[in-house]
């Protein structure tokens, strides 16, 4: 079906707008509409992944304006995978939110769908300017969602988040301006073709533009000097939103992978692989500092936010290794970490609700109402996040460790394994404080069926990803191979070889 590619953008847009118009409608109706739309997105995601496995790269030309002149959406293995991942994570968070978090403020459901539209659009677009537009769509929805429910901490963290991201958007526009001025096109496939024929006089400018883009994507992905907004914002956000935001850092990671393999990849002549050394070192530094953050956190929410930083560092280091095997392994790790850290945000919130006044702080407090259920989930989450066997974290990390060359091993192995150890120590300390050093009466608040389903769905992906590790790694390795095959991408988007810009 030809129009399937645009559905992940169109469907949430229509549902979102309808939900915003009928924001006074019955709550059950709005919830049902949102859940149904998200389930439909999961189905579309599965169909797209199935479509992409035949290794052809499809594109959807809006208004039938052919590339490089029109706006296009591109479907390859990576974008299909990311769309499916987004909808799965969204479904888990949404089920959790429907247990009551959505009532705390207005317009939750409409904004949720618009957020999904922005994220899906960013994954599917084949045009750098449209990437900017979809970034803005997902950001403006996220601004509102972050402050859903209000309160001092949220508005405060929200202002930092908004101001930083506005600066980021401006840098993005400057970078786009520089790249358009020198290359004469913003279509990614076309840029990839033009970059080899650049004037030597323009090389410096293009390089500046390309590295400016790295700053922008680094801000989204929370790369080292640009991550300070993340722990506070994620810790302040309502749990289902924080869980959904687990995909937001991956939007940055996705953009880095896309731009620096497709446009400034192996074949870019003098600009080949210009960002990889930066990404490698900054990724390792992010990983190390994230681990310190995990150890120092005094609040479970902050702790999970730092765990996200650890995973971002791991993913960036994987990109910096720039080999096909490393890319495939990091994609496996990416699926694991997105779903499980989303699940951890939900779980931590569920635990906090049963602890009365202590909330999410890591201090002694009352006994939990359901220590067994929550404890088991926390145990599974800890094992998966810290990367211990037999859950998926260990698989992802082992694949990455194996993919490192000898020179890279000296840096990657101690830092990655050390951060795993730090996460393990910190999470076991948290777990024993919460579950074993508790005393006093129970609060009596129990976990509703929707909350259990949402949390289990996300954390349950850890054992599932081990059970299906074979097909998943086969898919991610094929994705990596497709990503590094730049010529095939350019050929399937631009039929003629000579369509350049005005340079």
């Amino acid at each position: 079906m030809q129009h399937l590619i645009i559905l992940p953008v169109l469907l949430p847009l229509l549902t979102g707008v309808a939900l915003l118009i009928h924001r006074g409608g019955a709550l059950t109706l709005r919830r049902t509409a949102n859940v149904l739309s998200t389930i439909a997105l999961v189905v579309i995601g599965i169909l797209l992944v199935a479509d992409s496995t035949d290794d052809t790269i499809r594109y959807y030309a809006l208004g039938d304006w052919q590339p490089p002149f029109g706006i296009i959406l591109v479907l390859d293995r990576l974008s299909a995978l990311m769309v499916l991942l987004t909808s799965l994570l969204a479904l888990g968070s949404l089920l959790y939110a429907c247990a009551g978090d959505d009532e705390q403020g207005s317009n939750f459901h409409g904004l949720f769908q618009l957020q999904l539209m922005g994220i899906n659009g960013a994954f599917l677009t084949g045009d750098l300017f449209n990437l900017f537009v979809f970034f803005e769509v997902l950001l403006i929805a996220s601004y509102a969602l972050l402050m859903h429910g209000g309160g001092k901490a949220r508005t405060h963290a929200g202002f930092h988040y908004v101001a930083l991201n506005l600066l980021g958007s401006m840098l993005f526009l400057i970078a786009l301006g520089i790249l358009y001025g020198t290359m004469g096109t913003l279509n990614m496939a076309d840029m990839s073709a033009v970059v080899t024929t650049l004037d030597t006089a323009d090389l410096g400018l293009v390089k500046a533009g390309a590295l400016l883009l790295l700053i922008v994507f680094g801000l989204k992905a929370a790369m080292l000097p640009l991550y300070f907004w993340l722990p506070r914002a994620y810790a302040a956000a309502p749990a289902p939103i924080a869980a959904l935001f687990a995909i937001m850092t991956k939007v940055g990671i996705y953009s880095i992978i896309r731009v620096y393999t497709l446009i400034f990849g192996e074949q870019a002549g003098p600009l080949a692989n210009l960002a990889q050394p930066w990404i490698w070192w900054l990724g390792l530094a992010t990983l190390a500092l994230g681990a310190v953050g995990v150890l120092s956190a005094r609040d479970m929410r902050t702790q999970v936010a730092y765990l996200i930083l650890v995973s971002v560092g791991t993913l960036l280091a994987g990109i910096g290794m720039h080999s096909e095997v490393a890319l495939g392994s990091l994609l496996y790790y990416l699926i694991h970490t997105t779903l499980v850290s989303g699940g951890m945000f939900l779980l931590v919130d569920a635990i906090a609700q049963q602890r009365g006044k202590a909330g999410a702080r890591i201090v002694q407090s009352r006994t939990l109402t359901q220590p067994a259920t929550l404890g088991l989930m926390f145990f599974a989450g800890t094992i998966a996040m810290a990367g211990l066997p037999p859950l998926s974290g260990a698989f992802g990390k082992a694949l990455l460790l194996q993919a490192a060359t000898t020179a890279q091993q000296h840096w990657l192995w101690p830092i990655l394994l050390g951060s795993g150890l730090a996460s393990l120590i910190a999470l076991s300390r948290t777990g024993s404080t919460i579950f074993w050093r508790a005393s006093g009466e129970k609060t009596g608040i129990t976990l509703g069926p929707l909350r259990v389903t949402g949390t289990l769905m996300l954390i349950g992906c850890a054992p599932l990803m081990v059970a299906f590790a074979g097909p998943i790694t086969a898919f991610t390795q094929a994705t990596a191979a497709q990503l590094l095959d730049r010529d095939a991408y350019v050929e399937s988007i631009i039929a003629r070889g000579d369509t350049g810009g005005d340079t």
């Binding site: 537009v133 202002f159 930092h160 101001a163 401006m170 400057i174 301006g177 001025g181």
Partner: protein, 116 residues
């Protein structure tokens, strides 16, 4: 014209950046606005500056201006406008919720308001 254009963009960007780094929310918002003006001007100039050029193909037009930056800058203006409006409201909300217009929520260095 190029020199004038570049100087204007540069001054706008510099003032915007200075204000965006200030400690109170109002200068930050104004700074972000100035920065977005600078960025819009910059984006507009990326196709090269031409005068009297037609943007759309028409008979008898000798010179053409690059139409794409104009389309891009329109999009950027609309988005920037919405974002500015949002950040103004947000800054007011922060002032109300936190009780201080300092970006870190400091109240120490805030002179007491004259109640009279």
């Amino acid at each position: 014209m190029e020199a004038l254009f570049a100087t204007t963009t540069g001054i706008l960007a510099a003032s915007g950046l200075y204000l965006a780094l200030r400690g109170r929310t109002f200068p930050v918002v104004v700074g972000l606005t100035l920065l977005s003006y600078a960025v819009n001007l910059f984006l507009f100039s990326t196709g090269g500056l031409t005068t009297d050029g037609a943007a759309v193909i028409s008979d008898g037009a000798g010179k053409y201006a690059d139409p794409l930056p104009q389309a891009l800058v329109l999009t950027a203006i609309v988005i920037g406008f919405a974002m500015t409006a949002f950040s103004v409201i947000l800054a007011m909300r922060v002032r109300g919720d936190v009780g201080s217009d300092h970006v870190n929520g400091n109240r120490v260095d805030e002179p007491r308001e004259d109640k009279s």
